[in-house]
């Protein structure tokens, strides 16, 4: 069996203050599995544990409990990082280096020979459209260019696993699309990509699967389609609609809302919906449009965070943790599914 590109099991991390008087649980039993060639998004509000998870994967910090492995190797082994490319948020590639020198230094630190680095550097910088700047000092780069170079540094040794923290930060819209294309291409070639971003639209456009972290736990995980699946909410346009009809709808237990000349119906299932249509037609009204509403990832995310009833930044005090949410690679649990019905609709926002 091919090992998962990234496998995290029961990961816990507790930070203690100087004399151990106050303990903060940053991770409370996180399970994740990212397969080779998968584009995986890690979401969560500030302090949810995203960065801590990535730092543990890179050996920058150590887990209090649980296991983490990259390509089957425990993260404590430096060899596990041989095939890992990392783009940290707010990275500082030394300004005194040129792009070529930076790629050369970081490439050699990953065990590459100079000839391969030279070839790969030109190839990557051309792809990222900064080839003309190859011999310019990094300190002269704009933020977007620095970000592109950071991505080149992460890709220079053709890694099997890419960990990216806000990769499109500061990059113009065209550049973002190019970066997305590069990530998709890497994934097609078998690279597992773990994307950590606050730009939910970016994740939605790029990733195959996502996990939402909340207070150090996986609050939800699944494919984008699963998470933003059609909610039991429908948009209905019909004429005429009078209040007595709406009262009739409500009497069946349906949620009814008038929005910009149409109705927003919350129903329990398809039969319920059909019953409402029958009532409409029986009342002499004509249904001209009926469409299921779809939540955006942002809707799902906001609902999840609101559902926690606590918008405070940071982890929770350490204590007995809830059992971690298990995230399978094929079918994901959706413990928040009930919240989807209250999801704010993307189309409404428009």
């Amino acid at each position: 069996m091919t090992p998962a590109a990234i496998e995290v099991s029961g990961l816990r991390k507790t930070y203690a203050s100087a004399f151990g008087r106050r303990r903060i649980a940053a991770l409370n039993g996180v399970d994740l599995r990212v397969a080779p060639g998968e584009l995986f998004g890690l979401l969560g509000p500030n302090g949810a544990g995203k960065t801590t998870t990535v730092k543990i994967l890179l050996g920058l910090t150590r887990a209090t409990a649980g296991t983490a492995a990259i390509s089957g190797l425990p993260v404590g082994d430096p060899e596990s990082r041989r095939r890992v490319g990392y783009l940290p948020e707010g990275h500082k590639i030394p300004g005194y280096l040129t792009a070529r020198q930076a790629l050369s230094i970081f490439g050699r630190m990953s065990g590459m020979d100079r000839a391969t680095i030279d070839r790969r550097s030109v190839e990557l910088l051309e792809k990222l459209r900064i080839a003309a700047w190859i011999d310019v000092k990094v300190r002269k780069f704009s933020k977007g260019m620095t970000q592109r170079l950071g991505l080149a540094c992460a890709l220079v040794h053709s890694p099997d696993v890419l960990l990216l923290d806000e990769p499109t930060d500061g990059v113009d819209p065209v550049g973002r699309r190019e970066i997305r294309d590069i990530l998709r291409e890497e994934a097609r070639n078998g690279t597992a990509v773990l994307l950590n971003s606050h730009l939910l639209s970016e994740i939605e456009l790029t990733c195959d699967r996502v996990a939402v972290l909340r207070k150090g736990e996986v609050a939800a995980a699944g494919t984008i389609d699963e998470l933003t699946k059609k909610s039991p909410k429908f948009k209905m346009v019909a004429t005429p609609i009078d209040e007595s009809l709406l009262a009739g709808f409500r009497s069946t237990g349906a949620g009814v809302e008038r929005v910009n000349g149409h109705l927003l119906l919350s129903v329990t299932d398809a039969e319920h919906l059909n019953a409402l249509i029958d009532r409409t037609r029986a009342a002499g009204s004509l249904v001209t449009e009926l469409s299921p509403m779809r939540s955006t990832l942002e809707d799902v995310f906001v609902d999840l965070i609101k559902a926690s009833g606590d918008s405070e930044v940071g982890g929770a005090d350490a204590g007995p943790a809830r059992p971690p949410v298990s995230v399978g690679s094929a079918s994901a649990e959706l413990p928040f599914a009930g919240n989807l019905s209250s999801a704010r609709n993307h189309e409404d926002a428009q």
Binding site: K55, L58, G59, L60, T61, R62, P78, E79, S80, R81, R82, V84, G85, Y86, P88, G90, H91, K92, I93, P94, G95, Y96, L97, Q101, S104, I105, F106, R108, M109, S110, G111, M112, C153, L163
Partner: protein, 284 residues
């Protein structure tokens, strides 16, 4: 080896980008050029018959000096100056290596590579030491060659002084790395390393200081600190004694025993081991 070379290139490029190092090389070069052009010696039968300094005749009062002794005297005195200046400049030019490495946004880039932390730290230590060696070697080597050119006196012992200076720099750099790992601050690394240098030098008189204190535990503490800290004063004397050879005063030759070297080396090794251990344990 690739990791070491990559780190060395990184350290050298950073050094080249820093004005302190450029200024150091510029000042050293100016000093060397002035020294080479200002001193003109008239040597007859191995003795200094006349000398011109900045074009002005130096009065010899009809007593020719043995050029060998003159060179020895100059090199001994100069090695003492380089000991102090070279050590201080080397620490100033390299103490930032760990704090800069540990900066947020930078450390992630280095530690995400398949390199063990101890290996990363030690490769930067070696790179820093090589940089210091180039600094000291440039100054000592240039002066040595100029002396040979001007006097035809070949005195390899002068270079031995450079080896001891590098040994002291290696020790103090290990301490600067330890402070750098703990505090992540260049200024604190530099200041505490200079403080150790002077404090350890004061402790050369530990016996007299211990005799002057009122409690026995204070005397024990002072004597213990003397043995723990590097022997910066004795090693400075050792530089002069090594360069002077048989001509060195007895009080200087007396320090040429293994004890100051061994205890200083132990201090350096302990600092490096401690720095590596803390760096391994540190969370970023």
């Amino acid at each position: 080896m690739r990791v070491l070379l990559a780190n060395f290139e990184d350290v050298m490029r950073e050094a080249a980008a820093r004005w302190t190092l450029v200024a150091y090389f510029a000042l050293t070069t100016i000093f060397i050029v002035i020294f080479a052009s200002a001193v003109n010696l008239d040597i007859v039968n191995g003795a200094l018959a006349g000398a011109k300094l900045f074009g002005k005749e130096v009065q010899m009062h009809g007593n020719p000096m043995a050029i060998d002794k003159l060179v020895l005297g100059f090199e001994s005195g100069f090695s003492a100056v380089i000991y102090l200046l070279g050590t201080f400049l080397a620490i100033f030019a390299t103490a930032h290596l760990v704090p800069r490495l540990q900066e947020k946004g930078t450390i992630d880039l280095y530690l995400s590579r398949p390199v063990g932390r101890t290996r990363l730290l030690l490769s930067r230590y070696i790179a820093g030491l090589l940089l210091a060696s180039i600094n000291v070697g440039y100054l000592i080597g240039s002066i040595w060659l100029i002396v040979i050119w001007k006097t035809h006196v070949f005195h390899p012992r002068f270079l031995l002084g450079g080896v001891v200076i590098l040994f002291v720099i290696a020790t103090l750099l290990a301490f600067a790395f330890l402070v750098g790992v703990v505090t992540s601050t260049t200024a604190v690394s530099i200041m505490s390393t200079y403080a150790i240098f002077f404090f350890a030098a004061v402790l050369v008189g530990h016996e007299r200081i211990a005799a002057a204190v009122s409690h026995e535990w204070q005397a024990a503490l002072i004597n213990s600190l003397y043995w723990i800290f590097p022997k910066t004063a004795e090693l400075g004397q050792a530089v002069v004694a090594l360069v002077s050879g048989g001509e060195a005063p007895e009080r200087l030759s007396a320090v040429l025993t293994p004890a100051p070297f061994v205890t200083t080396a132990i201090f350096a090794v302990v600092c490096l081991v401690l720095a590596s251990w803390l760096f391994e344990k540190k969370e970023f």
